[in-house]
């Protein structure tokens, strides 16, 4: 069984190698190869899952060492895998949702001449993410972490002939790089503190290290998580990443990439448990981001960007839960899995709508699509109900638990966090209802595209609808299934630990409160977008709306706070380089050149001049010799 773990990563990696190196010969069947290999990875995952279920609660973790990677003296870094319940959950999510997205992409990318390459990148993405969650040490995790960054760069910029896509890819890569620096510093700190970066010894010895060091490690890990999971202050890349093809957005937002930060924090739980300050920072980041993303999501007219804001907000929930410590880890992961289902479903639905509407993304130019795209409407609708936390659907179970856990943090902090989470739930209900109403309800506001083609909305091919149906089923039932007998809690508890907090509110009160804010959010959206006709061009809006349309000025802030000073600094350095460094170098060269220009005149080609210099030299030598003798 242990050997299968390596295969889990190797299979999609093989797919990437085949598709990217195979050349045009594979153009006709590349997408099938990619999809089959992703599916094979899922099957291997399922086999391992079945095997894991067959074993007792505490010996479920599997270890497999592939080879010794960097053996230097006493220092060892191995390519070794660890498959425990936490990794297993991620493996099934990544390969399962990943495979569905592969299937969807067969239809979605049908007319793209670079489809083979696209599938190669998708496979690479899966392989990197699997490596990230299966590594048994931070160094190997870092390899997967970078691989995910690379794959996301390649996929976001897949249509690199569009300058906006190329810029978005660069932005994502650079912002991620800031987070990566955090992770590498965290790994170095771990090495100096613990002398190793294998999970088991680091995490079991976490209690023995000084709190200051643990706080430093925790904050650096948080920085890393902020980069990959698009949390404030490194959130700016996520909205622009919508430039990539829609299946990529689904993959980034549901199965891979943004979930990596939550995984990192949950996996390093022992470090955060022993560093309350770092934990407080995690919670703050989560709470701020969940509101930030939600507010941005409310103002966007671009369907994908609205969903992107929503992802940011939902990941904020997960980070918040993970920051709560043992009360929250399980729920963070549970929300991550249910979110994986409904967000992938929503994105695939959005892709299906765009497919039908000549790639129009402005929701104000949709309207009334429910009659034309019944499957998309129903699956998207179920995803919508799940994400707002409609009772009984997936999102309800996981989000409710997080809100409960936030209140259970206790004290003023608990009230603030719980209040933020509740407010977030209300805003989520508002913006998702808005997306739903603008897209599927109301009158048709369609406009012809630039070439004058009237949109003729039609249902997408079955390769696209089947994944959407499967994901919709997951969005409906996954949460409930996990909550039967607290199954998910019992499954993850041996790895992450769990404790019940003292909530000032009863579970029933929290649920009731959530339902009330949910109803308010939906009602507000209905009042604004359901009752009244929606204009094709966005009204000017309030100051907040205008700020939110610009992503709450994130880019302006980055521009003023980072880009401008950076430019001034580089300009200053360039000036110093020009004037000082180049001045010294060029000055030396110029003076040597001038001197030799004068010395050159001595070489006038007349034999007698040379003879005179010889005589003169001899005379000087003789004079010197005589002088020396005289002295």
């Amino acid at each position: 069984m242990e050997n299968l773990i390596g295969l889990l990563v190797a299979v999609p990696l093989l797919g990437a190698a085949l598709l990217l190196c195979g050349g045009r010969r594979l153009d006709g069947k590349g997408h099938y190869i990619g999809t089959v290999l992703a599916g094979a990875s899922f099957v291997i995952g399922a086999v391992l899952f079945a095997d894991m279920l067959g074993r007792g609660e505490h010996d479920r973790a599997l270890h497999s060492k592939v080879f010794s990677w960097i053996p230097v003296g006493g220092f060892r870094a191995d390519v070794a895998f660890q498959l425990d319940q936490l990794s297993m959950t991620f493996v099934l999510l990544i390969t399962g949702v990943g495979t569905l997205i592969h299937i969807y992409s067969i239809g979605y990318m049908e007319h793209d001449e670079r489809r083979r390459r696209f599938f190669g990148y998708l496979n690479l993405f899966l392989a990197a993410m699997l490596l990230l969650v299966l590594a048994d040490n931070y160094l190997l995790l870092y390899v997967g972490w970078e691989g995910v960054g690379l794959a996301s760069y390649l996929l976001i910029g897949f249509w690199q002939h569009k300058p906006s896509a190329a810029t978005a890819a660069k932005k994502a890569f650079i912002v991620n790089r800031v987070g990566d620096v955090g992770l590498s510093i965290a790994i170095m700190l771990m090495f100096t503190t613990f002398g190793t970066f294998t999970f088991a010894p680091v995490l079991t010895n976490a209690d023995h290290a000084s709190e200051g060091k643990l706080t430093a490690i925790g904050l650096m890990l948080l920085l890393a998580a902020c980069g990959k999971s698009a949390q404030v202050p490194l959130q700016s890349w996520l909205g622009d990443a919508m430039e990539g093809p829609t299946p990529v957005s689904a993959l980034i937002h549901a199965a891979t990439m943004v979930t990596a930060g939550v995984y990192l924090i949950t996996r390093s739980g022992a470090i955060f448990n022993a560093a309350p300050d770092a934990q407080a920072a995690v919670v703050a980041v989560g709470a701020v981001t969940l509101l930030f993303g939600a507010i941005v999501g409310c103002a966007k007219d671009d369907i994908k960007k609205a969903l992107a804001g929503s992802t940011m907000s939902q990941i904020g929930y997960m980070i918040l839960a993970a920051g709560l410590g043992p009360i929250g880890y399980v729920f963070a992961i549970m929300h991550l899995v249910t979110h994986g289902f409904f967000k992938a479903g929503l994105f695939l639905g959005a892709g299906s709508v765009m497919h039908a509407m000549n790639d129009e993304v402005d929701m104000r130019k949709y309207g009334g699509l429910r009659k034309y795209m019944p499957v998309t409407f129903i699956t998207f609708g179920l995803g919508y109900l799940a994400i707002i936390g409609f009772p009984g659907l997936s999102g309800f179970w996981s989000k409710d638990k997080i809100i409960e856990a936030a209140f259970a943090k206790g004290g003023t902090e608990g009230w603030i966090l719980g209040g933020a989470a509740l407010l977030g739930a209300a805003i989520t209900a508002y913006y998702m209802t808005r997306v739903m109403l603008l897209t599927f309800f109301g009158e048709k506001r369609w406009v012809p595209d630039e070439e004058g083609h009237e949109p003729h909305p039609h249902e997408s091919p079955s390769s696209m609808t089947i994944p959407m149906i499967v994901l919709a089923v997951g969005s409906v039932f996954a949460g409930g299934l996990f909550s039967v007998n607290d199954a998910f809690l019992k499954w993850l508890e041996p790895v992450t630990g769990h404790s019940h907090g003292d909530s000032p509110l009863s579970a029933a009160a929290v649920t009731a409160g959530t339902m009330v804010v949910l109803a308010i959010g939906v009602a507000l959206a209905w009042a604004q977008y359901g009752r009244r006709p929606v204009p094709r061009t966005a009204p000017r809006g309030s100051l907040l709306t205008r700020a939110a349309r610009r992503d709450l000025l994130q880019d302006d802030f980055n521009h003023v706070a980072l880009v401008k000073p950076g430019q001034y600094l580089t300009r200053g350095l360039v000036y110093v380089d020009h004037k000082l460094v180049d001045g010294v170098v060029n000055g030396t060269a110029a003076s040597v050149g001038g001197l030799s220009g004068r010395l050159r005149k001595l070489q006038n080609g007349y034999a007698r001049t040379y003879a005179v210099s010889m005589f003169g030299g001899t005379a000087v030598l003789i004079a010197a010799t005589l002088l020396m003798r005289a002295v």
């Binding site: 080609g605 007349y606 034999a607 007698r608 003879a611």
Partner: protein, 99 residues
């Protein structure tokens, strides 16, 4: 006669030769001035040989003559070639070896 007088003569000859090299333009004359300097040196060597009572100076004088003979051959060949190509034996006309 005092042998030192020969040294004076050698110095005089050398100076004449050197002045000729520096002043004259004709390659042949230049060449003869060089020979004059060589012979001045030979005279000095032979005189010192006589003064010191050994044969070292005379041996070196013979060497110089042999080398000078070889040099004359090469030098005259160069002068003749230059004259053929430039129709002039003036060394100033051949001042091309400069930047």
């Amino acid at each position: 006669m005092n042998p030192v007088n020969y040294l004076y003569l050698a110095a005089l000859l050398f100076t004449i030769g050197a002045a000729g090299v520096v002043i004259r333009r004709n390659a042949i004359v230049l060449f003869m001035c060089v020979e004059l300097m060589l012979n001045a040196c030979n005279l000095a060597f032979v005189t010192f040989s006589r003064l010191h009572g050994n044969l070292d100076g005379q041996i070196i004088a013979f060497f110089t003559m042999v080398v000078a003979a070889a040099e004359v051959v090469v030098g005259l060949a160069i002068i003749v070639t230059v004259f053929r190509s430039r129709h002039s034996a003036s060394v100033d006309d051949a001042s091309l070896m400069k930047l």
